[in-house]
Every structure is written in structure tokens, then in C-alpha cells.
Amino acid sequence: MNGFTGFVLRRVIGAVVTLFALSVIIYVVFYVTPGNVAQITCGPRCSPAQVHQVAQQLHLDDPLYVRYGHFLQGIFAGQDYSTGTSVEHCAAPCLGQSYQTGRQVTDVIWTKLPVSVSLVLGAMVIWLVLGIGTGVLSAWRRGRFTERALTAVTLAGTATPVFVIGLVLMIVVCGELRLLPFPQYVNLTDDPEQWAWNLLLPWLSLALIEAAGFARLTRASMLETLAEDHIRTFRAYGVGERAIIVRHALRGATASVIALNAVTVGSAVGGAVLTETLFGLPGIGQELVHAVKVVDLPVVVGMVLVTGFFVVLANALADVLYAVADRRVVLA
């Protein structure tokens, strides 16, 4: 078990290093980006004096390393911000304050995160069931009509943009059939039932896109496993085809499905921009796009770090799960 603990520890350290590298890169990218941040933040009608004042307030004139130092200090020790009249304390881990609204970035994240997480986790359940199910079925019925039909459907799924699927779903389900109201985000803690009903369509449209990848991967790794010698062993011992498919071939595919799932979940938390926008879900992705548009550096950094955190966390988790699914990984 010692090897296993070490393995997990190495992954965690790797994740922390990655996140720091990520924050540095964002700082540098925004530093070299053209455009007067103070002007944009202040608004088009500001006088040069006002712009100068804003720049000072936001420490925009400080050198890059000083600003990054402030940022790090905020994360570990918290920070005090003067808003002109009063001083506002931002407790560690503090990611700074929005240039635009003056809200603390951590607060913004806390209001946006549940939306994105709700969307992604719900969709994940659907894409896993749909993707793995389709994959198993097409591996089982390889070479027959069922497989070809399923391949066509999954290909169409990957090829259709989310706003087409989402719009069609909305028009048909909410508009024509009136089975559901047009989605509007409701907090899980406020009303679990409404939460689920409102998220059903976003879940479906996000899942339909992602399921295709899982179907293809499941099918491919199952076919690979089915060609291996140990499958021949169980066939030669009269083990039924269903047991071979489920217990042996699917088991061989789990490791790669776990890996793909982690990456997909991680990137969808901050990356399901289209789905969030289409259904008007106030999630991380939507907020990030807005913040980039108005060069709201603290919010962008915060959102990217959160997104990055989920990608890194998901990958680290995938590596650990992978090692649990296939013990030989740690030994190798």
C-alpha cells in the first residue's frame, strides 16, 4: 500500500504545480494583451483623470511581479481592499476583486459553481449510461445491422453542434409539446424537483454530444479486449457470451472510460459555455466569457483557476481510479 500512497502523493504535488503554472501564464498573457484595462474598466465616458484614478486603485501601474505577488498573498494570507471610503477584508484564499463590480471573486465563484457542477454531473450520468450502453451493444453486435445503425447515430451526435440539439429539444419539448417549461435555473437547495426538471434539457443536450465519444471508446476498447487470448480461454471453457462481454470485455474497457470521463467532466465544468449560454444557465463558463470581454482580470484568473482546478483534480482522480482499476499501473 506504500507504493499506492506515494503514487497519490506524487499526483497531488503535480496538480498543485500545474495550477501555479496556470496562474502565472494567465497573468503574463493578460499583461501583454493590448488595450487599456483602466479605460475599459472605467467606461468609455471617463475622463483621463478618472481613468488614472481607477488604474491606481486597481494597482494597474505596478509591475507584473508585484501584482502577482499581491495575488499570491491574497491566496495564502487574505487581503484588504480599499473601496475609497471603507476597507473591505477578503479572507484567504482570496482571489481578488472584480474590476467591474467590486465583488470578491471567491463570492462570484461560489454563486456560479453550483450551476456548472449541477449541469455537468447530471449530464455525466446520462452520457455514461448512454455512451457505455451504446458501446457495449455495438461491440456485442459487431458487424451486424445494429452496430452500423448505432455508429451512424453516434457519429451524428458528435457532428451536431450543441445549439442545434439544444434548440431542437427546446422547441419540441417546451415549445410544441409543452412537456416542460423553458429551462430556468433553480437552486438544488431551494427546490430539488424543479432543479431537476429545469436541468433535464441542458443535461440531455450536453450528454448527447459527449456520449458519442464514450460509445466509440467503449466499443473500441471492448473489441480490443475481445481479440485477446484470455477471452479465447473463457470461450473455450464454455462461459456464456453475455458473461464474456460484460464481465471480461467491458471490464477491460473501464480504465480508459474512467480516464476519458475525468477529462470530460473536468473540462466541462468551465467549458460548457455553449450549453450554459443556450439555456441561460448562470455558470462558470458564461461568466468567464463575459469577464474576458471586459478584461476583468481577477475574475478571469479566478474562473480559469477553478476550471483548471477541476481539470487537474479530475485527471489526478482519474489516475488514482485508473490505478485502482488496474493495479499493474502502480507497479510499473
Binding site: 480461454t233 473463457f234 458473461a243 471490464r251
Partner: protein
């Protein structure tokens, strides 16, 4: 009624006729070996007995009756009930033949439950019992191990346990010991022998190794090109083969008790290893693959290096050619310490398939050492490669052919030509013939001998096969766990081994004479009891 009745069996894969009108039968409790070289169709026959060709596109005609079931006419469900329960198969490679994700006990239990209406718990208990039966120590605990946690021999035992789980009437063993070391092979063959005596099951052994057949069966059926060449009691066929092909096959089998014909004229020392040690891994995981080995190789002689898997013989070979640096000790070529690769010391690898680039013509592979030496003249290179190809028994026109167009023996000839291209003084051959059929083996060994005499080469011949090593070597080094156990003239080491380990190795070599094999088996059993 016979346990197994094969009549006019023909199996075709597309236009290839793998089995061609084969008929044979096996009485209950009897043991028959199908012996043949690769491509003789013996494994295809084994597969046909369990109907494994169904659904693969192979054309099967003729009838196969196993324990009363007509395999070709049987429904899928009848076939499923035949497989494992009436006739069980043990495969060649025990690692890839088990599911890497599940505990070995669970895999055996699963097979048992496919045929018996028993609870999961009862099936697991049965798995532990059969594992005990095949000699897995601490079976209750080891049943929870996964295949990669077992050694090669234990995995093969586990596969045999799986076969035993359903008490079949017929055991089909397809090259059951080919992937194993010689001492482990002897244990597995002994185990099969004992199990057969106890359970009265019939055995169909598929093997390329005449010695393995001599050890294990009553009757032997020699196959070639999908047809039966000769069938008879194993003692009679081996002692007095009636057919020319059988004689040819037997003549090609290297004998562990035959002295090397030509006595060599050994010259000066060309390659010398002194106290060589090589470690892999760091810290607590570090282990020495080779430890304190000293030996010399002289001009014009062959030094054989034998040992079981993990004995460090390949690591030693790689250090001799400079592919690996020793952790301690020194390798000297012609009196000078040599670091890095040296054109004068070349290597021929075991697997001629993976040691040639499949995307390049063989001529280009052979030309590599020439180009590496800085040769620029393209016509000169081509001419030299053509000469080398002819020298190893291929044709100059083969220059542009790809490795897959050659047979195994031809590919190994390409490997030898590549080694010769650098005008070496020493060639280290790492298992150069272990992937080849015996008749091909004999040809490649003969080629190496010719080249040695002609060019005055020093050869280091690394192999696990004691008989082949004896056939080619002037002196022999026996390795075990990284150390040199015994080192001396080949005849001394083989005829009067000093070390118990060498004696044990030699005793495990399958004998070509069934009576001798039976005596040795009895001898092997005694120390185990004591």
C-alpha cells in the same frame, strides 16, 4: 467407444488449407501427442476439437466427436456444455490466457459455475481445492492473487487447475510448456502425468517439441502441412521412424548428450569481462541482474551461456556488446576497456520479427551498420549488402523485400547479415534460434558455424535450451540469479557437472527416449518426497 474420434477433418482459412483430411482417434484415458513444426496445423486441430473455429469464417468439414458430442453438428448450447466440462484446453501462454483484472480463484470459479449449478461460495471453494491439487502453495490465499502476481510456472498450474475444475474427460494441452523454463517444464509435465494417473482423463498434447511428447504420452502423431505423416507408440516412432520426414525432424532435434563434432582452434582472447555487475532500479528496489561475472571469449571459439529466465544472461550479453554499461567491473575488447558500442562486437537478437523495422526493406536494415560507419558510396553499399545476403543463404534480389515477406528462419538470416555488415570479430547471439522450428534451428546453427570457421569469429551463444547450447559451444557458462554457477569446457560441464544446479538443469531436459524419461521422472520425484 473412443473418447475422441476425428474423421477426415479439413479446416480451411480462405484459400489456406491448415488441416487436410486428418483422421485419428483417442481411447478413454489414453494420451496422444500431435507433433509438428509451425504451420503443420496441429493447433488448428486442437481448436477444432472444441469447435473454436465456429464463427471465425474458417471452413470446417469432416466430423469430430468428443465424448459423444458431434462438434460440428452441435448447437451453440451443446457446444458450450462440451467446452470445459467434457474437454478442457490448456493454452500456451499462461499470462495472456488469464484475465488480468480478476483474481485467479474467481476466474476458475467462473468457469466452474458455467457448468455446475453451485453457489459462488462453493465455486470459490472448488477453485481453492483445484489450485491446491496442482501444487499452488497456500492456495486459499493465492486464489485471491491476480495473474501478474504469479510466476510463469504458477500461472500454468493455475490454467491446469481451471481445466480440472470441471473434471473433464479429455484434456487438450496446446504447447503447455513452451513459454516455461526447463525445470518448470519438467514440473508441469510431471503434474500432467500424475493428474492423468489419478483422474483417468485422456490427454491430447499439441507440441513442437519431440522431447516433451516423449515425456508425456503413449502415442504420437507426426503432422506436416495439415496431414498425418506417421502415427504409432511414442517409443517405436522415436526409435525407428518409418517416414523420411519424421527422421528429418528427429535428426534436427539437438541432443543434450551429443558432443560437439568439430573441435576448435581457439586463438587469442578477444573479449573479456572481469567482475561485471549490473544493477537495475534505485534505492530499496535496486537489484543486481548480473553480479560478479568474469569470463573470456577467444577468437574462433563459441562460448555458450545457459540459464533460465531471469538468470541475467541477456543483461550480460547486452553488456558484452556495449548496449548496457556495467555498474561495476570491466569489459575489455582486445585488451582495451570498451565503453559504448563497438563495431567489432555485434549482436543477433532473439526475435527476428521485432528486431527488424517492418516499414523498411531488409537491405536497408543490413546497410545500417555500413552507413553508421560513414559509408557514402550507394553502389558500394548495395553491392556489399547483396554479398552479405548471399553469404547468409538469401538472394541479392531480396534487398527491397520487407521483413513480413520472409519466414522466421530467413528473418534470422537477415539479422545475421546485419551483424556481419560491420565486419565484427565477435558476435553475441541472444537466443538466436529459440523462436524457430527445429529443422530451421539446425540450419541457422549450421550457418553460424560456417561463418565462424570462415571468418574466425568469436561467438557468444546465449540460450535457455541446454541441448542447442551443447550443440554449438566449446565452452559453457551456466548462470543463475545473475551469477556464474559453473564455467568450463562444454563436455566437462555437460558430462560431469560439478554444481547441483547444473545437474538439476540437465535432469530436467526432456529425454527423447520414453523409458529414460520415466526413470528420470521417478528420480525427480524422490528428492521432492525427501
Amino acid at each position: 467407444m473412443s473418447l475422441l474420434e476425428v474423421t477426415d477433418l479439413t479446416v480451411e482459412f480462405g484459400s489456406l488449407r491448415a488441416v487436410d483430411g486428418l483422421s485419428f482417434s483417442l481411447a478413454e484415458g489414453a494420451a496422444l501427442a500431435l507433433v509438428g513444426e509451425s504451420g503443420s496445423g496441429k493447433s488448428t486441430v486442437a481448436g477444432a476439437l472444441l469447435g473454436l473455429h465456429r464463427g471465425t469464417g474458417a471452413q470446417v468439414t469432416g466430423t469430430v466427436r468428443v465424448a459423444g458430442t458431434d462438434v460440428e453438428a452441435a448447437s451453440d448450447e451443446e457446444l458450450r456444455r462440451l467446452r470445459g466440462a467434457k474437454a478442457a484446453m490448456v493454452f500456451q501462454d499462461p499470462l495472456s490466457s488469464l484475465d488480468p483484472y480478476y483474481a485467479i480463484g474467481d476466474q476458475i470459479a467462473e468457469v466452474h459455475r458455467a457448468h455446475a449449478r453451485v453457489s459462488r461460495r462453493a465455486a470459490r471453494a472448488r477453485a481453492v481445492r483445484v489450485l491446491e491439487r496442482v501444487g499452488i502453495p497456500d492456495a486459499a490465499r493465492r486464489a485471491r492473487s491476480r495473474p501478474h502476481e504469479f510466476s510463469g510456472g504458477m500461472r500454468q498450474r493455475a490454467l491446469i487447475a481451471m481445466a480440472l475444475a470441471c473434471e473433464p474427460q479429455l484434456l487438450i494441452a496446446d504447447e503447455p510448456t513452451t513459454a516455461l523454463d526447463v525445470t518448470v517444464q519438467a514440473q508441469i509435465l510431471d503434474l500432467l502425468h500424475t493428474l492423468r494417473a489419478e483422474t483417468g482423463m485422456g490427454l491430447l498434447l499439441v507440441t513442437h517439441d519431440v522431447g516433451v511428447a516423449a515425456e508425456s504420452v503413449d502415442d504420437v502423431l507426426v503432422m506436416r502441412h495439415g496431414r498425418a505423416v506417421e502415427r504409432g507408440p511414442v517409443g517405436a516412432v522415436l526409435a525407428a521412424p518409418a517416414e523420411a520426414y519424421t527422421r528429418e525432424l528427429l535428426d534436427a532435434v539437438p541432443r543434450v548428450d551429443a558432443r560437439r563434432a568439430a573441435s576448435p582452434v581457439a586463438g587469442e582472447v578477444v573479449l573479456e569481462a572481469t567482475g561485471v555487475r549490473r544493477e537495475f532500479g534505485r534505492g530499496k528496489r535496486a537489484f543486481a541482474a548480473v553480479d560478479g561475472v568474469s569470463l573470456t571469449v577467444r577468437r574462433g571459439e563459441t562460448l555458450g551461456v545457459v540459464g533460465e529466465s531471469g538468470s541475467g544472461k541477456t543483461t550480460l550479453g547486452r553488456m558484452l556488446v556495449g548496449l548496457l554499461e556495467p555498474t561495476a567491473g570491466e569489459i575489455r575488447y582486445a585488451g582495451r576497456a570498451h565503453t559504448g558500442v563497438n563495431p567489432a562486437v555485434q549482436m543477433v537478437f532473439q526475435d527476428p520479427v521485432s528486431s527488424l523495422n517492418p516499414r523498411r526493406g531488409v537491405g536497408e536494415s543490413i546497410a545500417d551498420p555500413l552507413r553508421a560507419r560513414g559509408e557514402k558510396d550507394e553502389d558500394g553499399i548495395r553491392a556489399r549488402v547483396a554479398e552479405l545476403l548471399e553469404r547468409v543463404g538469401l538472394e541479392a534480389a531480396h534487398y527491397d523485400r520487407y521483413p513480413h515477406e520472409f519466414s522466421g528462419g530467413q528473418r534470422q538470416r537477415v539479422g545475421i547479415a546485419r551483424a556481419l555488415a560491420a565486419d565484427p570479430r565477435v558476435i553475441v547471439c541472444d537466443e538466436p534460434v529459440s523462436a524457430l522450428d527445429v529443422t530451421t534451428q539446425a540450419q541457422v546453427v549450421a550457418l553460424l558455424g560456417e561463418l565462424q570457421r570462415e571468418l574466425g569469429l568469436a561467438l557468444v551463444f546465449i540460450a535457455h535450451d541446454l541441448a542447442v547450447v551443447r550443440q554449438v559451444s566449446d565452452r559453457v557458462a551456466v548462470m543463475r540469479k545473475g551469477e556464474l554457477v559453473e564455467y568450463g569446457p562444454a563436455d566437462e560441464v555437460y558430462d560431469s557437472p560439478r554444481e547441483p544446479y547444473t545437474r538439476q538443469l540437465l535432469a530436467a531436459v526432456p529425454a527423447l527416449d520414453p523409458e529414460l524419461a520415466a526413470r528420470r521422472r521417478a528420480a525427480r520425484r524422490e528428492p521432492a518426497v525427501a
